[in-house]
Structures are given as C-alpha cells and as structure tokens.
Amino acid sequence: MAELTHLDRLEAESIHIMRETVAEAARPVMLYSIGKDSAVMLHLARKAFFPAPLPFPLLHVDTTWKFRDMYALRDKVAADPGVRLIVHVNRDAESQGINPFDHGPAHTDLWKTQGLKQALDAHRFDAAFGGARRDEEKSRAKERIFSFRDRNHRWDPKRQRPEVWANYNLRTNAGESMRVFPLSNWTELDVWQYILREGIEIVPLYFAAERPIVERDGLLLMVDDDRFRLDGATPQMRRVRFRTLGCYPLSGAIESDAASVEEIIAEMLTTTTSERQGRAIDRDGGSASMEKKKQEGYF
C-alpha cells in the first residue's frame, strides 16, 4: 500500500479535527463564507460524517454585499437536504446603512465581526469552524487550531492553550467558545490541488472571464450590481479572476487567463503576489490589522 501523500495527511488531520469537535462540543457550527476554503471545508465535513448528514448547521454571516454568483452557489448548497443553512444579517448595520463605500473599516467591523458575534450568541454556539489557514497572514500563523475565545469572543495571543500532538482541549465554561480551524496546516496551493483532486464545485468568479472592471486605489473592482458607485468612471471589460472573495466592492481581481483549476494551479506556481494582496480590509490599521481584528472577535 502506498505512503500517504501530503494531501492525504492534510485531509485525515482535518477530518480528525472536525470529528473531535463534534464529539466534544455541545453546539458546533460551521462558518460558511462561500469561498474556496469554505467549499473545501464543506467537502471534508461531508466525508468526515458520511453516511450521516452534517451534524451541525452552516452559518453564513451575510454582509448583503457579496457577489451575486456567491449567493447563487450558497442557495444551491442550501438546497441539499443534508445541509441546514443559517443566514445571519446584522440588523443594526442594515438600519444604519453601513456600506463599503462610505464606512471603510466600520463596514467590516459591523457587518462581519459584530454580525458573527450576534449570531454565535443568539444560537449559543460553543464551537465554530472557520476556514482560516496559517499561510494566509502572519498572525494566523501564530494561532492554534482550536482557538479559545472568552465570553466577549476576544482572542488573546499570549494566553493560547498549548496544542500538543493532536490532543486537543475543547473544554469551555458557559459563554466561552472555540474557533476551530481545520485547514490551519493547508496552503493556498494545497487547497487548489485538493479542489482539483476531489472535483469540488466553487464559485465561477475564481475562473478568468470578461468582467466589467473599475480600477480604484490600485485594485481592480468588479461592478457586480447597480449599487456600485461609479463616481464618473466607466467600467471596462477585462479578463480577470479572483483569488479570494469577500464583499464585492472590497475584493480586488487579478488579470488572468486561467479558466480551469489546472490553469489556476499552473498560474499559482509562477505568481509573485500573495492571495491577500487584493483584500482591501487587510489594509486597515497597518501590519497588525488582522491581529487586532481577531482580538476583537473577528474569526
């Protein structure tokens, strides 16, 4: 029998983490953001618990500003009878009209961080899976697979639980919770190779196509609906794709011809920029931006 490959080992580790969470947490949930990492997590979860349906719901913290293609895939996933999807919209952010054009960092804080905290509190979830990977960002590289959060969802990098072997401590007191990152040890390339190997469906925006683009602050932004403020600009059709997906006015595209997973992998092997380079929200607050967001409860 052949040695396990690195993808085999990563898959086995992620499944182990998910099963451990379901065995020990009282109310687990999987955060589902519709991106490629979410797609891989969902696929792994189906494998981990087959033939049983998913033993937890999916939670989409909806900012209402996602790409239309993302909503289409989300609704398709939710149509699966084995999946229970909870969509949470922060009504405070909605009533205040918070949007990515006028409110900058407050948009992410209110819609995503506060929205997530509201949803976790409302359903009393004590463990939430997230698709974060340690190769994404420097403070992620320092975070445990099981990331303890206090009653206020705060992360304290100096008080992390030692994570020895694959022996995880999931115990929490009332109100405290765990963020669980089954993809911690995966890289962006691993994710793409796994999507290729397993034939996982992803949002078409990851593949190159002609799309209406406005260039702003060095980012190539796609005009996805009529809420986009053109401010006199005229969208140009350009052949682009996305490496990460978030709110459409905050997600920068890259010029690319890669129209299949194989071509994306080939492109990745020669690229010179990181995945998060196109993310406007990473630019708020300098080089420790993610660390600060996480301390406040961002996933």
């Binding site: 029998m1 040695e3 396990l4 490959t5 690195h6 085999d8 080992r9 990563l10 898959e11 086995a12 499944i15 182990h16 099963r19 451990e20 379901v22 065995a23 189906r46 494998k47 618990f49 087959f50 033939p51 049983a52 340690r134 190769d135 960002e137 420097k138 403070s139 992620r140 590289a141 320092k142 990098p157 100096k158 992390q160 639980r161 030692p162 020895v164 072997w165 694959a166 022996n167 401590n169 115990r171 007191n173 405290e176 911690s184 040890n185 890289t187 390339l189 190779q193 290729l196 190997r197 992998i265 092997l269 690229t271 010179t272 920029t273 990181s274 380079q277 080089s287 420790a288 660390e291």
Partner: protein, 621 residues
C-alpha cells in the same frame, strides 16, 4: 503539477537560543524557495526600516515574527507555523521560541515534528540552550536532529570552528542518547549551505540543509508496521441500519475481515467495511481518518480503542510519567485534573514528583511540586482504567496517541500540562477490589433508609457544625442511622499528620471523602462539616459516590458575619498574622456555583435551617 499532488510532507521544528538566527533561517528557506510574494516582501522591507536589525538590508526574520509584541521586542513569543516546498517534499516548519520561559511552546512545536533543526552560533558553540533543546527534542521523541552551525560567515567560514563544535556536541549527544544527527556549517544570512552547497566552504562535503530535510525518513512508515490501534472518536449512527466507528488510525493497518479486539472491554469481532463517500476501501493504514463497521453488534463507544486481536494494548490506572508543567499555577499533588489521552478523558491525580529534571544540567532534583516550564517524573493515578501504550519504547518510534496525555484544570479548563506515560505501576495489577457478599444495597435495606452524604461547606464560623448537629438530632429522632464527621475531630485522629497547605487540605478532603463513602456503603446517612474551600475537591467527593447521594449544602454566611461571631477566636489570630493559610483571610474560599441546598444564615435560624435540610432529605426518592 501532478507531482505536487503526490509529494510527501515533512514537519520539523527549528530551535536554538535567542539570537542564533532561527527566524532568519526560516525567512531564508521561504525566500530562497520562492515562497515569499512581492507584496509580503514589500511589507517586510517597510518593517525592516522600522524594526530591522540588518541595517539597510531586508531583515528576513520579520517574515515570521507575526505578532506586534514580537516585532516590538524582536523576539519570538509563540510557535509560528510556516510552509514551503522543494522539488521533492512539502514542509511545515514550526518556529519555536528560544527563551527559557517558553519551554512549553518548544514542546508544543516539537510534539508534531518529524525532525528538529538545532541552531548553534558558530562564534558561541554549544550552549546551555543547545543542550536544553536537544534534551527536549529527545524527550518528545524526535529521532532526527540537524545541528545547524549558523553564522559561519562571521568566523570566516573556518573549518576548525565547525569541527570543534561538532566534537563538543558529539560528547553531549552520546550522553543523552540522540539517535541520529547530522551537522551542517551554514549561514542563514547569506544562504550558504541552506538550499545549496556553498563555494565559501569547499572543505565541507556533506549535504545542504535542504538536502537533509528532503531525505530524512518519515515515521509514518514505521507507524503502519505496528499493531493496529484505532481510538474511537465518534460513533456514526444516522439510522438503525448503520452503526459506524469513526477515528484516525494511530498505528497499523486494517482491512475488511481483520480480527479486532475492543479495549478495554476485550470483546472481539471482525471489520466488515471501511466506509467512505467514494465507496468502500480495501485497506486503510496509520494516519488515515476512517469510518468502519463491524461484523457483529458489539458494544463500542468514544474512548474505546479498536486494536489488533493478537496484540491488544495494556489497560491500567496507575502510571509513571514524565510531565511538562505548562501553567502559571504550580501542580497541586493530589488534586483531580482532567486527563485526556487519545479520545479518553478521565479524572487523574498526580503524586508529589519523584524528581524534577534540571534541563540545563540534566541533574535530577528533589521537588515538592512542578512549576511553569518544569519537567518532572511522577506517579499518575486515574479514577478508572485507561487504554494506553508507553510513549517511547526503546528503538521504536513514539506512541504519541496512546502514550501522550494532557492535563486540564477542572475549573479554568486551561491545559496545564502535557505528559508521556512510561509504564503502568504493578500495584494497579495486584490490588483487586474485593467482591463483597453483602453489598451496599443490603446494608441500606436492613437500615430501612437510603444512604446519603450531607456535605456542609462554608467559611470557618459559618455555622456548619451547629446546623449539622441539629440535623443529626432530628434524623435520630426519626429513627435514621447517621454519623457526623467533624473537621476538628478528624484532624485529631485520622488526619493528624496533615497541615493547612493547599496540598494538605486536598488530602484532608480526599480522606474524609473516602471515609464518608465507606460509611454510605454501610447504609448510613453521613453528615460532614468541613470548610472544604475548593470546588475541585468537592467535585472529587461527589464523583466518588453514586449519582444523587452527595448532597452539597452551602452554609452561606458573609465573611464579615463569620468574622464577627469568631466562635473559636481564629479570625482574630489570622488577622494578627498568627495563623497562616486561613480561609477567607489569606487563603481563598470558592463558594459552590449550584449547591443542592443553600442556607442563608442571615435570613434563618440554625433550627429553621436544619428543619429545611431534613425535609429536603426525606422527600428524596
């Protein structure tokens, strides 16, 4: 592209002392293997100008020190995991801190590593930290060690400097039994001998660091050759027709038809199927997460271990273990902690350590307890038998899953220690519980009552003994068989050897708990009046007794009231400093969070309280 898919994965750690250049080396590996993207490099260049230590040059160390506190102080606080790959392998590297106070983080990083790269500064040679980190790597069971003699550019690439360090290290490696090591002269700063062999050191004809990392053997092959061990994580039961057992195979292989024994019960059956969403598998091996079904309907649940029928693992409840203490609060010998091993979680107590290891000198020192970052050897007792294997058997790779455990504080839920089991203590095998012909039920029936332990807890002077005495009198009037265990009286006899330190108080309560349990077995209603200040110990006694027999009664008197009454004059002494470790004054009292009965003595008399307790007791079914 397809080659990438089939590559092996090696996990390793880098360690060494503070300024040996670990972060720089990792930065170099990432940079030279082209895993640094332009935007990340631009960020590092900007950071270098602010925090860098390399003048105008880019400080590669800043690529890995990700937390703001780390960048400010120029040190590594916590383990960082980094990724890169070569043409032959993928790598996950854990960058572990060099500071002595972060021993726990080094152990954390080492626990999942196949190999360790130990950095030594060519100018400084083998230091205390070199020895400590070698010892820790060996302790955790890393079998392949690379001695990276760094900063060779600062000693003019001198061969003698390198040879001298190798000779020093060879002596030490023999002393602690490092099984397999390779020394490489290199410079993380210039990249010499990191990815490729450097022309600056023509005299060196060994491999580059990358070449070693690409060829170190992986332990997974060795794990697959061992007898089957599959700790059951989760029972998959979507319908009445399907009952699958899910878990990650720790060792060995299995296939449909494999005969297995379920530990600890010892039942045997055969594997029927290995179920996956892509169809059944013909075989599975160590490292895979699987779901299997059995040929027979046998009892099996989370915590059980599915094992090779011909070579099942041991079962025991007393062990010798090496413990790495990881919490700010010291180990409390005798206190119950959660012990998690594989998928089993039980209550465990640790005895006073046999010795602590000075990791700098490797001396064995006497130690009453273990403090943060201490490593010691002690006896561990679990409250029920667990399935285990020795962590490290001579000549074999480690049994991390069934030999490595963590200890969890029962109140804060913090992970306070990790440990490695050496062997079961024979006593566990030789002391068998005596089967009694007349059981506790018979005793209770003869006495015509349901046994119970009424556990009064509260501050000194709260009124515990007073109320307990009245309760006992009322029960006697109703013809109940009772016995009152009083704190002061027990300390005159059974527990006269115990003082008032935290450890002694825990032992005091443990003994009282055992006596109360025996008396309840005899069919009595036992009343106890002890301050019993810690929740953990009250929970320990509750766990000794059958469900519902432990009734926690909180005599809730505010400290000010108890102090004002000061029946025995003890508060006055404590305030005067004549009495140490006095509860409420210089020692904490942890009130019950959900007592079975709470008596507020500011609201009712002792007589009323006693009546209320008796009523509650007799109403019980």
């Amino acid at each position: 592209m397809r080659e990438q898919d089939g590559m092996e994965l090696l996990r390793f750690i880098t360690c060494g002392s503070v300024d040996d250049g670990k972060s720089t080396l990792i930065g170099r590996l990432l940079f030279d293997s082209k895993q640094i993207f332009d935007d990340q490099l631009a960020a590092v260049e900007a950071d270098s100008a602010r925090h860098g230590t390399q003048g105008d040059a880019v400080d590669l160390a800043l690529l890995v020190d990700g937390l703001s506190a780390e960048r400010e102080q120029g040190i590594t606080i916590d383990v960082a995991y980094r990724f890169f790959n070569s043409a032959r392998r993928k790598f996950i590297v854990a960058d572990t801190p060099g500071h002595e106070q972060y021993t726990r983080n080094m152990v954390t990083g080492a626990s999942t590593a196949d190999a360790a790269v130990l950095l030594v500064d060519a100018r400084k040679g083998v230091l205390t930290q070199t020895r400590r980190h070698s010892y820790l790597a060996r302790l955790v069971g890393i079998r392949h060690l690379v001695l990276a003699v760094n900063k060779m550019d600062l000693v003019d690439h001198d061969r003698q400097a390198f040879d001298g360090i190798c000779a020093d290290y060879r002596l030490f490696a023999e002393q602690i039994g490092v099984p397999d090591w390779t020394a490489i002269p290199l410079s993380a700063l210039t990249g010499a001998n990191v990815m490729e062999r450097s022309s600056a050191m023509q005299w060196y004809d060994g491999p580059s660091l990358l070449e070693v990392l690409e060829t170190v053997p992986l332990d997974t092959a060795a794990d697959a050759a061992k007898p089957l061990r599959l700790p059951v994580q989760w029972v998959n039961r979507p319908s009445h027709d399907f009952r699958g057992f899910a878990g990650q195979i720790a060792a060995g292989t299995l296939a449909p038809g494999t005969e297995v024994r379920i530990a600890p019960s010892g039942r045997t059956t055969h594997v029927a199927r290995i179920v996956t969403s892509d169809g059944d598998l013909d075989e599975a091996r160590a490292g895979q997460s699987v779901t299997i079904t059995f040929a027979d309907e046998v009892d099996c649940s989370r915590g059980d271990v599915i094992a090779a029928a011909s070579a099942p693992p041991e079962v025991a409840d007393r062990f010798e273990a090496t413990i790495v203490w990881m919490a700010e609060e010291d180990l409390l010998p005798g206190r119950g902690y959660w012990l998690k091993i594989g998928t089993q979680t039980v209550t465990a107590t640790v005895q006073r350590p046999k010795y602590e290891v000075n990791v700098n000198t490797l001396e064995q020192l006497a130690a009453p307890t273990l403090r943060l970052n201490a490593i010691g050897v002690a006896e561990v007792a679990t409250d029920r038998e667990i399935v285990f294997e020795p962590y490290a058997a001579e000549g074999a790779s480690t049994n991390k899953v069934l030999g490595g455990f963590i200890l969890i504080d029962k109140l804060s839920n913090a992970t306070v220690a990790c440990g490695m089991l050496h062997f079961a203590l024979r006593r566990a095998h030789n002391i068998h519980r005596q089967h009694l012909e007349i059981g506790r039920d018979t005793h209770a029936v003869i006495k015509g009552q349901k046994p119970a332990v009424l556990w009064f807890t509260g501050l000194s002077g709260a009124g515990k003994s007073t109320i307990a005495n009245i309760v006992e009198k009322k029960l006697a009037e109703r013809g109940r068989h009772t016995f009152l265990l009083d704190g002061d009286n027990v300390r005159h006899g059974l527990n006269r050897d115990l003082g008032f330190t935290e450890a002694d108080r825990i032992e005091n309560i443990r003994r009282v708990g055992e006596v109360a349990r025996l008396m309840a077995d005899a069919g009595l209603i036992v009343l106890t009046a002890f301050i019993s200040p810690f929740r953990a110990e009250r929970a320990m006694v509750r766990a000794m007794l059958p469900e519902g027999e432990f009734i926690e009664i909180f005599i809730d008197t505010p400290l000010a009231d108890a102090e004002q009454r000061d029946v025995k004059g003890l508060y006055a002494k404590a305030r005067a400093g004549e009495l140490k470790n006095f509860t409420g004054i210089d020692s904490p009292y942890e009130p019950p969070e959900a007592p079975d009965i709470r008596i507020d003595t500011t609201q009712m008399s002792a007589e009323e309280a006693a009546e209320l307790i008796v009523e509650a007791l007799l109403k019980r079914r």
